[in-house]
């Protein structure tokens, strides 16, 4: 693997995580429990689509095959996507959406804090910008988890259920492969193993404030680094890519 190939894959991974979660969150549009939450969730989606656009455009430049961000978003099949599986998990109920957000935003807080120091100027710039947005996403998810966890028996149980269900997807965020190792040596990527204890402490603290038990299961899902996904990604892509697949090159 050359440095160029590694950078392409790494940038795709960062971009895909933002794109896929953005698509998921946008499914809440007009379906959230109340209007303010509808605005919050769709604004999160907007932040992420902006981030995905910059990163996928850059990935296209790195690859050097004249693929635009739109081509990369709409003309790849699921095995060519490198987002963590947690990003593609269905919205479920509101508790599930917020737990997913908490797990991902907390990871992103530590990831982008590190990537601000990346020797790749574009990644460092995107990281600095994204970090400001992630802080708001995390504050929002955190507030909800604490509120719902301490709320009624129903809201507490739903948060606990979501935490239990999503837990097995959290480990993958910290997996590293040849891509990471090559780019860490160049000062471009972040050492994800070093972020894991920070993330775990943070999550345990929030869950304990929410009176929610942190699962002790060791089993973790894996696969996305190789483009292997859960059954949900294909359905998401068929929806997201429909227009470009049916009418290639259609523009506004």
């Amino acid at each position: 693997m050359t440095q160029q190939e590694a950078l392409f894959k790494y940038t795709l991974r960062l971009g895909d995580n933002a794109l896929i979660l953005s698509q998921r969150l946008s499914e809440w549009c007009s379906n959230a429990p109340f209007i303010e939450e509808d605005l919050a969730l769709t604004n999160f989606a907007l932040d992420m689509i902006g981030r995905a656009q910059v990163l996928l455009r850059y990935a296209g430049e790195v690859e050097g095959k004249e693929k635009s961000e739109d081509i990369l978003a709409f003309r790849r099949s699921e095995r060519q996507y490198y987002n963590n599986q947690i990003a593609e998990q269905p919205n479920g109920d509101f508790a599930c959406t917020m737990v997913r957000q908490l797990f991902i935003s907390a990871f992103e807080l530590y990831l982008f804090t590190e990537l601000q120091k990346s020797k790749d100027a574009t990644i460092a710039a995107v990281a600095a910008k994204t970090l400001k947005e992630v802080r708001y996403h995390l504050a929002h998810a955190e507030d909800w988890i604490i509120r719902l966890g301490n709320g009624t028996t129903e809201s507490h149980n739903r948060v606990q259920q979501a935490v239990n269900d999503l837990w097995m997807f959290t480990g993958e965020q910290f997996e590293m492969d040849e891509t990471d190792n090559l780019l860490i040596a160049e000062g471009i990527a972040a050492d994800l193993h070093a972020l894991q204890p920070l993330w775990s402490n943070y999550i345990e603290n929030i869950l304990s404030k929410a009176t929610i038990k942190t699962p002790q299961d060791a089993y973790m899902q894996t696969g996305s680094r190789k483009g292997i996904h859960t059954e949900h990604l294909g359905h998401l892509l068929s929806d997201m890519q429909y227009l470009q697949r049916a009418y290639p090159d259609a523009i506004w």
């Binding site: 303010e36 939450e37 605005l39 919050a40 604004n43 907007l46 932040d47 992420m48 689509i49 902006g50 981030r51 656009q53 910059v54 100027a121 574009t122 460092a124 710039a125 995107v126 600095a128 910008k129 994204t130 400001k132 947005e133 802080r135 708001y136 995390l138 504050a139 929002h140």
Partner: protein, 163 residues
């Protein structure tokens, strides 16, 4: 190549007429989005920095810049987005803050990179200036604004969030 008949300062002056589509009382230069203008043999390059990565106003602003410079015979124009240093609400100047407040949007606090929780406290009502206000929703009509209500005059208002 007509751009050479204008100085950089004159072009910046022209561009200061372009408003932020989301807050029409404030210009792109007052809000800190317009970073630089470069005149080269290849034409005029306008350097912008986006406020938010997904800000839908960026496309409109780019079109507005090209149209305005075209009207003044300045061509060709390229608009380049730079992401570093990242835009911060600290770049919004005092004149723009005063205009925002008069328009009914509470301006962001300074030194905006502290904690989100701190940034949300003690926001004065832009209408009656009361300090007794409550956050209603962290997200408003746009990603950059939150919704508040004033407990004194009872009016709802928007707050431009620290970023």
């Amino acid at each position: 190549m007509v751009a050479t008949t204008y100085s950089k300062e004159e072009i910046l002056q022209l561009l200061s007429a372009i408003a932020d589509p989301e807050i029409p009382v404030v210009s792109i230069s007052e809000i800190g989005m317009l970073r630089d203008v470069m005149i080269t043999d290849a034409g005029c390059e306008v350097i912008l920095t986006p406020t938010y990565t997904g800000c839908p106003a960026m496309g409109i602003i780019e079109a507005d810049i090209k149209a305005l410079l075209h009207e003044n015979g300045i061509e060709p124009v390229t608009v380049t987005m730079v992401y570093t240093p990242a835009w911060t609400t600290d770049w919004i100047n005092d004149a723009a803050r005063a205009k925002m407040n008069a328009y009914g949007i509470a301006p962001p606090k300074r030194s905006s990179c502290g904690s989100v929780a701190d940034a949300e406290k003690h926001i004065n009502c832009p209408i009656c200036n009361a300090a007794d206000t409550t956050l209603v929703s962290r997200y408003g009509s746009t990603a950059c604004k939150a919704l508040y209500k004033c407990n004194s005059c009872k009016e709802p208002f928007e707050y431009f969030k620290c970023h």
